[in-house]
Subunit: 337 residues, 2 copies
DNA sequence: CCCTGATAGCTAATCGTTTCGCTGAAGTCT
DNA sequence: AGACTTCAGCGAAACGATTAGCTATCAGGG
């Protein structure tokens, strides 16, 4: 690879001038500029980011660490994030913590070593696993999940509202025995969605039966076994609120394997759904997150932090989910009620 | 951030010794080593990759440029690749060319500037768009699609076999009027799959009718409109081979919107399917690619190239697809034949 | 005609590592 | 005892860019 010295020698100028031309950082006479540009082209010169970054102490890298790359929800975040990062002139370094706090710890250290200018983190594990100043020294935006008391900007969705909307819909259809398959309780997302469900039922003087709320990992298999267990019993719920899209697939499979039909025998509402499932039957009724908007906003905040050295107050942005009606619910038939 | 000099000063040794301890690159007496290790811990020293890479001319970065991040197929590649890259001690820089040759060109230049040690590329566009030595100077593995005459290692699947297996299955069920919804013809993948279909039919003295082979972008919407058009005509095929998972979703939606049922009215076989769709009805009959194996193999080849400076001959590895039978096909009813 | 001010472009220091080559103390052999 | 090895650890030169500060040129005013 040609270096800036080769270009300088060929153009008969100093390296400083080449640098000035590259970065448009000082006036260079048209004649010299032309010679430099020619030399750059002839030598196919591309500046070394390693050297530039060493000098500028910038890396042009933004890290994204998601909780589970196998989940289409995060795959969509990655998709949006790549586009946004590129649009801001950075490149995206991708990490998958796989819901494991230990892996996440290694990733954070790696991000530091790489000298990433900033990171978007979907945190794994409970809030108390983080030091109070865990993210000092590197611009950070937390996405989707929040950590109390950590001075990082946060972009989340209103999970409580998602749970409330979903269960309100089921209640409006006449369902009363409503169950839920939800994620791990130490995650703010799972907790929020369940709280929303409880809110909605409480508003009508109801509460979920203890055995009708089951939690497990945010994975299809976990949801399958939990749902199969819950729906096998005689006083099974007539409707289920499922806390995430991948789990909804597992729940539907469990129901089918038990010989039950959706929506005739069981109504299902989920929060989030997997991409592509829209083409198959029955279409899920679900609350949807504005993933692209959330991700873009997270990156806007991050780039803002990176480029403004000023320490503005911590910002926290909450997006609202929307209920999308599909075909996975029916009104409760009163003759059974 | 503490630098190596700070550590050296604090431990009362030279920077060379600190470096030796960090990299285990020379013998250091236990006593000095202990002092250095303590100093590192106390100062929370993390070496600057920018400086290290400048010196070593390595970046520890592997780039992955995929053709379409919105496609779950590539999302799964990203998932596998992140894990493999991390396992080899590198970090993953992710790019999405969005099937646009211009974007791909910018990405390649960016990868050079970043000084990535290697890249895995899902190339976009026809072979003639690349210079003969386009990839010189950076270790490259082409994944999924190949480019003739470019000296890069390649990992692909046998697309022709995929098409052949899929259509053979339909022929075995008695179907004769078989259509296909396939991708852009300039891509080796689309062409290979269609060739396989033609092979299979030719082996029984058949050939697809001209109007029954339609191509479009590898996207759900394109497949939807193409399928809707094809299936609207009276001599519509009794079975369709769809060249990719996302398109299969579009085709199924088109069929449903036309009031047809799958599999009763139309049988569908696809190559690849979207993750999660396995939980919904009807389960697709499809050929599957060993994505994780392919990706791991691509990274093994790449790391091999990066770390062995030797210029071994170009390697090309072809994986075999497997037919997975779902519920989206039925035997042709003879009374209509 | 000299002095001043403006400024295009150069020289050299710098960023934080790695690594070559050197020093000097200790050990080994005759 | 003297000469020769060995080798732990050090000093300083890279790596390839940016950039502060300097030099030299030129125009214009007195």
């Amino acid at each position: 690879m040609a270096t800036i010295k080769d270009v300088a020698r060929r153009a008969g100028v100093s390296t400083a001038t080449v640098s000035a031309v590259m970065n448009d950082t000082a006036f260079v006479s048209p004649e010299l500029r032309a010679r430099v540009v020619t030399a750059i082209r002839e030598l196919r010169y591309e500046p070394s980011l390693a050297a530039r970054n060493l000098r500028r102490s910038r890396s042009q890298l933004i890290a994204l660490a998601v909780a589970d790359l196998s989940n289409p929800f995060y795959a969509r975040i990655v998709w949006s994030a790549e586009a946004a990062v590129a649009a801001w002139g950075y490149s995206l370094v991708l990490f998958n913590s796989d819901e494991k706090p230990d892996t996440e710890r290694r990733i954070l250290s790696r991000i530091r070593t790489l000298g990433c200018d900033g990171m978007v983190l979907v945190p794994v594990g409970a809030a108390n696993q983080y030091q109070p100043h865990e993210f000092d020294g590197i611009a950070t935006v937390l996405l989707g999940r929040s950590i109390e008391g950590n001075g990082a900007d946060t972009v989340t969705i209103d999970n409580r509202s998602a749970g409330r909307q979903a269960v309100d819909y089921l209640l409006d259809l006449g369902h009363r025995r409503i169950g839920s398959v939800t994620g791990p309780m130490q995650l703010s997302t799972s907790k929020g969605r369940l709280d929303g469900m409880i809110d909605a039922m409480a508003a009508r003087g109801l509460a979920p039966q203890p055995g009708h709320v089951r939690s497990g990992e945010f994975r299809e298999e976990a949801a399958y076994s939990v749902a199969r267990d819950m729906m096998g019993s005689p006083d099974r719920p007539t409707a289920i609120y499922v806390a995430n899209g991948v789990m909804a697939i597992g729940v539907m499979r469990a129901i089918a394997d038990l010989g039950l039909r959706c929506p005739q025998d069981v109504s299902i509402v989920s929060t989030d759904t997997v991409a592509g499932a829209g083409g198959l039957k029955p279409r899920l009724t679900r609350t949807e997150h504005p993933i692209a908007d959330m991700t873009n906003e997270a990156l806007r905040l991050l780039v803002d932090r990176i480029e403004e050295r000023g320490s503005e107050p911590v910002r926290s942005i909450v997006f609202q989910p929307a209920l999308i009606v599909g075909e996975s619910c029916t009104p409760l038939r009163r003759d059974f009620g």
